[in-house]
C-alpha cells in the first residue's frame, strides 16, 4: 500500500466509487438507470474489467431465470377457485 496519504486517499475514493457503481450494474443491465447515471456506469465499464464480468453475470442469470418454466395451475385448482367465486367459500 502507498505511504503517500494523498495517494492512499485517492485509492480509497476510487474503491468507494467502484463499489457504488458496481451495485448499479444490475439496474444498468435491466435498463432501469436514468440517462445521466447510465452514462456514468457506461464510462466506468470501459475501464473496469471486474464490472464488465459482473454485467455479463447479471445478464446471464436474468436471461436464464426468464427461460425457466413457470408451473401452470392444474384444472382442479382452477375449478376450485371458480367454485369459490361462485359461492364465496373455498372448496377443499
Amino acid at each position: 500500500m502507498s505511504t503517500d496519504p494523498r495517494r492512499r486517499r485517492a485509492t480509497g475514493q476510487t474503491a468507494v466509487r467502484h463499489a457504488r457503481l458496481h451495485q448499479q450494474i444490475a439496474a444498468f443491465a435491466d435498463g432501469e438507470l436514468p440517462g445521466r447515471q447510465r452514462r456514468v456506469v457506461e464510462e466506468h465499464l470501459l475501464r473496469c474489467r471486474e464490472c464488465q464480468r459482473e454485467l455479463a453475470l447479471q445478464r446471464e442469470v436474468a436471461r436464464a431465470l426468464a427461460r425457466e418454466p413457470v408451473p401452470s395451475a392444474s384444472a382442479s385448482l382452477r375449478r376450485r377457485i371458480e367454485w369459490a367465486a361462485e359461492v364465496g367459500r373455498p372448496r377443499r
Binding site: Q23, E32, A56, L65, L77, R78, E86
Partner: protein
Amino acid sequence: MNAERKRQSFQSITLPHLDRLLAAASRWSDGQEAEDDVQETYARAWTAFHQLREPAAAFSWLYRILETVANERRRTFARRRDLFPTTELEAAHEEIIAGDGPSPLDSLLSRVEAGRLLGALRSIPRPLAEAVALHDVHGLKYREIAQLTSVRLGTVMSRISRGRDLLAGLLAIEGKRGE
C-alpha cells in the same frame, strides 16, 4: 354490484394471474401446499374484492394476499432449512468476477436442469429471492417491486444485484461439487 357481475368481474380480473401466483407460491412451498395457498388467496380476494380499486394492480394486490397467507402458515421456518450460507455464496461470486479466464457461468447455466434455478431461489435470503423473481420471472419493473414490497428503489436495485450474485455463486459451488 350484483353477484353475477361481481363473479364475472372477479374472474376476468384475477384469473389471468393464477399461473404467476402459483409460481410465486411454489417458491415458498411445494405441490399441494402451494396450490392450497393460492386457493386460500383467491378465497380471501373474493371476499375483499370491493377493496381492489385499480384492476391493473390486481397482480400486486393478489401477491400481497398470498404473502400474508404464506406467512400465516409460517412457511419461512420451513424455507430456512434450504438456506445456504451467504458468505460461501459471496466468495464463489467473487471468484467468478475476479477471474481472468472466460466466465464459467455460461457453461454452468447450459448444464442446469429446467426448474433448478427457480428452486435455487430457496437457497438465498427471501427478500433477495423475492426481488429477483418479481423482476426476472414475473416481469415487474423496479418501481413496481418497490411499491409491492414497500421498500425504496435503491433497496430493490441492491436486492436484485445481490440476489443474482448469490445465485451465480450457488451455481458455481454446485458445479464444482459435480465435477
